[in-house]
Symmetry: D2
Subunit: 136 residues, 4 copies
C-alpha cells in the first residue's frame, strides 16, 4: 500500500441540464454523483487495459460529498478527479466540481472509494493492473 | 449543542424502479441519495411547524454513503433516518437502507448533514425550532 | 393481424418521488415515461415465457403521451396498461395514469409501440409467442 | 391561426451521460424527453420577452417520440427544434435528435405540443407575444 501525491486523473467539462434542477431550483444533491460518475467513466475509458470484463467490474464502495455552493441552470462545470490513495483492493479518488468559466468557484468536493469485484461472488479483488497504472 | 441518543425520525417503505438501474444492472449510486431524500422530505412534512418558508430552506451540506450490497430490480426497501447530532446550525442524520422483506439485509448506511439557509443570503441560520423539536 | 378489444394488462400502484418534480414544482414530463415503463416491466415479468433472451429484447419504437393534469408531490398514482393493437412485429399498448385515491382523476394517457428486436442485427422480429399470449 | 413553413428554432449540441443508459445499455426512452427539454429551455432563454412570469408558465400538453436508432454511450448529439404549427393557444414543435458527428444519423424525431397556462387557474391562455415572435 502506498500514498502517492494526488495525481490528476481527468478533468471533464460538462454542461448542466435543466432537469438536474429540483423543486428548489438548484442542482439536486444526487445529480452531483452523476457528474462525478461521468468523469469517472471517461477516466476508465482512457485506461491502457480492461476496466470491465466478464468477471470483473468496478463498484462504488463509499462516497463523501461536500456541497459548497448552490448550482443554478444554465452552467458549465468542470469535474476533476485525483488519485488520493491507492490500496490493495480499493482506490480513493478525490473529486472536485468547479465552475467552467471561473475555476475558483468550487461547487463541491469530496472523495469516492472504488473497488473492483468478482462479478460471480460479488467480493472485492486485487485492483486490476490497469487501474494501478492509471493512478501512478 | 448536545448529542442525543439516536432518535428514529422516520422509516419509509419504498418501491425501487427499473429506471433506478444503470448499465451494470444494479441500482445506480446516485439513486441511493434519491431514496434518502424521499424519506427526508416525508419527515419534513411531519414537522409541527414550517420547514420551508419564503426566507428559509433546508439544504444538504454534506453526505456520506456506504454501499454495502448491490440492489437489483424489483425490490422493496425501507429507508430509515435517525438523528445523530443536533448542532446550532446543522443537524446530522444517519440513514440506513434495508430490505423490505428482510430487515437484516443492509444495502447502505451513512449520514447527511443538513443546514437551513436564509434564501436571500444563502448563509446558514440557527436551526428552526420545528427542526429541533422533531429531533428531540 | 387483428385488433382485439382493449385488454387490461396490468394496473400498478406507484408512489411518486420528490425527485420526480422539476423546477416548476410538478412531475417532469420525462418522468411519466418512467412510470409507464415501470408498469410495462412488471407486466413483462408476468409473462408465461421469456420476454428477454440472449438474442431478443423489447424496445420502445414510439410513444405518445398526453399530459392532462399537473402532478404534485406527494401522490400515489396507478398506471394502467391496455393492449390496443397486436400486429405481427409490434404491439401498441395504451397507458393511463390516474390518481391512487380518485380513479376519475386522469393525469396522463396515450400509447406506446413496442417491438422485439434481434439484439445482433437490431432489426424487429416477429413478436414472441409469450407476448402474443399476454395480449390476448 | 396559421401554419408557417417549419422554422428552425434552435440546434443544441449535447453530450450524452453514462447515467442516461438503462439496464439494456442504451439511452433510456425517458431520457430523450430530457434532451428535447434541454433544447426547448435554451430556446426559451433566447426570447425577446418573458416566457415565464408570476402568472404565466409553459407546460407540455402532449409529446410524440419516434425512437429510430439505439443510442450508446459515449455520444455527442444535436437536438434540433422546428416550429411546426402556431395556434392561438398552443404551438407544436418538431424535434429531431441526430448524431453530433454524422448529421445523417437520426436517433429520434417527433413533436411536442406546448401551451402557456395561467398559473392560478391552470388553464391555457393565448400564446404570449414573445412566443409568437420566436416562431415566426
Amino acid at each position: 500500500m502506498n500514498t502517492p501525491e494526488p495525481k490528476l486523473l481527468i478533468e471533464l467539462p460538462m454542461a448542466m441540464r435543466w432537469r438536474d434542477l429540483d423543486a428548489f431550483n438548484h442542482a439536486n444533491n444526487s445529480t452531483f454523483l452523476t457528474y462525478i460518475e461521468e468523469a469517472r467513466l471517461h477516466w476508465f475509458k482512457k485506461f491502457d487495459g480492461a476496466w470491465l470484463t466478464e468477471t470483473l467490474a468496478p463498484v462504488v464502495a463509499a462516497i463523501q460529498v461536500n456541497y459548497r455552493r448552490q448550482l443554478a441552470w444554465p452552467a458549465n462545470i468542470i469535474v476533476g478527479l485525483h488519485c488520493e490513495r491507492l490500496g490493495n483492493t480499493s482506490v480513493t479518488i478525490a473529486h472536485r466540481i468547479i465552475d467552467g468559466s471561473d475555476r475558483s468557484t468550487v461547487y463541491s468536493d469530496g472523495h469516492t472509494v472504488l473497488v473492483w469485484i468478482d462479478t460471480a461472488s460479488g467480493k472485492p479483488v486485487a485492483l486490476p493492473e490497469a487501474v494501478r497504472r492509471a493512478c501512478q
